[in-house]
Amino acid sequence: MTSIREHQYTVETLELTSKLLRSNPEYYTIWNHRRLTMQHLFKGPGSSERSREQDHDAIVNLISDDLAFLLPLLRKFPKCYWIWNYRLWLLEESTRLLPTAEARKFWQQELALAGKMLSLDSRNFHGWGYRRTVVQALESTKLSTQEPINSMAEQEFEYTTQMINSNLSNFSAWHTRSKLIPRLLNERGADNEARRRFLDEELELIQRALWAGSEDQSLWFYHQYLMSNFDPKYARDSMVPDLTTDERSKYIAQEFDRVQEMLDGDEDCKWIYQSLIHLSKLRKGLTAEWPAKADSVRQWTDELLRLDPLRAGRWNDLKSDLDN
């Protein structure tokens, strides 16, 4: 500990911090000391005598070794923020100190690491967050080897499809999808026709998913997100901004029929009633008329109160909202 207190930055200090961090990775001050030590070692001893080439190799080795040191710690303490922060700092140092192609290699490996973590636990919060950060770095101008920058939106979108296909109950994947879609459509230069086709495909996908798992809230949240495309309030950010009112109400009618069909044999699924009310309100907002008899909307809120008493306060608010 003395060498740390005395601010010594040697290979020995580095080993000492390794020892301390292996027993307690939450000790953030030690991570900071390790950063200072690494920065010292990056500079190398008496750098004037060494060629740039040697410096460069030394830095690559230091970073590789340090990334390797972190792996078992991440496996043992996957929820420890400080380890992830330190790892990202190290990678940013590679961007700062090494030629672009060299630094890119380091970042590229991290994508595989994030993928491995998510294959072990597909909802790992740190895993998804880490993956997003790594992708952002790889897409940044600092790490770009070409003009225009290498967008990974298509590849990442494909990744969410894979994750969803292996397990529908993955809110993280649906979320990521919602963030990628607007970018994807812009980057494809999608015209209105292509945008409509895309929306139709997403609607098909979520319908298939809902038939397989009508009690899964992740799916219904995504369904609600897709329905925002038909809500003038959210139109500006929607997939097809130029939908006419007529088209919107046609879409709503189509979704309404699909969801109502699900009710047959699944009468105790509260999400179906919730969606039917939501769609009815959307339709009412657009055309000033209810798609079904106003009585049914009231009946559905009664079903919600029956099936979901935990959220009775919410359904009562909805009920008085309908009365106004």
Binding site: Y28, T29, N32, S218
Partner: protein
């Protein structure tokens, strides 16, 4: 203040029904007071990185339990000041580097015991300098905040800055509109917020983002019905709340979900009675302390958030809590009306 978990476990005693509904106030007070006497345990030292947070958690719990004198005031001030650096920032314990998270706890502790002026009297840096340390962590281009000089950004740090600076009446040191725009950029389709733009909604981050918007007076930016709907779905049939879809219930998430619902005026959208019963089932009524869920070890972190949750649910006998600051409402009202 020890962050050691245990010795007790939540909900291990099979008491009769009426007991189930009681809060073991005296034993919780004793439990919190006993924490600092456990320095002979290895875990006491392994949790040193949280010590200043721990004092804030224990102190706040004691205040809400109606025992504001439960920790010695002078010793508390001495300990807080011993964690300060010349930069104005605070570390988790003496000798630990300064970081936003501990600086915020330090300010909250001093505000709670009405001792902020001690900074100017005998701190390593005065009140203004504490504000400058925090303000210095804002990225003036993006509006976001880093946790320390090493640059990790997270909406938790932004909220911490708003929290502490508003208590010090020093919000003018930062670019509030830029920070608000950053929070708004973290919003998601479900109405929730993540750690950074693009990140998934998470109850803890929602609390920090909605809290920051509340302090800035910009709750108009929140999609209340959508967010309220998502938050209300965090309640599970056993009454407890989780932090994200498909996850387990946990007392600390109860607080983050509930306080966010309170800030957007939707607290009635969950079943308060069932949640009260869930939190009460997580306490160790004999040895004191509250666990994350029944059967687990108690700790001071879940103890304060359990008690703060009960307070927000108007549980009888508790001091009212401020949903934004997680401090006694009487104290924040006094400070903020100055």
């Amino acid at each position: 203040m020890s962050l050691v978990s245990g010795p007790g476990r939540g909900g291990t005693s099979a008491g009769a029904v009426p007991d189930e509904l009681k809060l073991a106030v005296d034993n919780h007070v004793k439990y919190i007071q006993s924490l600092d006497t456990r320095q002979d345990e290895l875990e006491y030292w392994l949790t040193e990185h949280l010590r200043l947070n721990g004092v804030y958690w224990g102190l706040t719990a004691l205040h809400l339990l109606g025992h504001p004198e439960g920790l010695p005031r002078d010793a508390t001030i001495d300990f807080v000041l011993s964690c300060q650096h010349g930069s104005g920032g605070f570390g988790a314990a003496p000798g630990h580097d300064a970081h936003m998270l501990y600086t915020v706890s330090a300010v909250q502790i001093l505000a709670t015991i009405d001792a902020v002026e001690e900074l100017d009297l005998r701190g390593k840096a005065g009140e203004e300098q504490v504000g400058k340390y925090i303000a210095g962590l804002q990225n003036r281009e993006t509006g976001s905040f880093a946790g320390d000089e090493w640059g990790e950004t997270d909406t938790r740090f932004l909220f911490g800055a708003f929290n502490a600076l508003s208590l010090l009446h020093l919000l003018s040191l930062i670019d509030v509109p830029k920070a608000v725009a950053h929070v708004h950029a973290c919003a998601n389709f479900d109405g929730g917020y993540g750690v950074s733009p693009g990140a998934e909604s998470h109850a803890g981050q929602i609390y920090t983002c909605v809290g920051a918007l509340a302090i800035a007076g910009r709750l108009d930016l929140v999609d209340r019905d959508r967010l309220g709907g998502w938050l209300s779905e965090r309640q599970l049939p056993n009454g407890g709340l989780n932090g994200r879809p498909e996850k387990l219930e946990d007392v600390c998430y109860s607080w983050w979900v509930m306080s966010s619902l309170a800030m957007i005026d939707r607290l009635r959208w969950i079943d308060g009675d069932k949640l009260t019963q869930f939190i009460l089932r997580c306490q160790d009524r004999e040895q004191g302390g509250i666990a994350d869920r029944p059967g687990d070890m108690v700790d001071v972190f879940h103890t304060v958030f359990g008690i703060a949750g009960l307070s927000l649910l108007s549980f009888p006998g508790l001091e009212a809590v401020d949903p934004i600051y997680c401090m006694p409402k009487a104290i924040t009202s006094r400070i903020l009306s100055k």
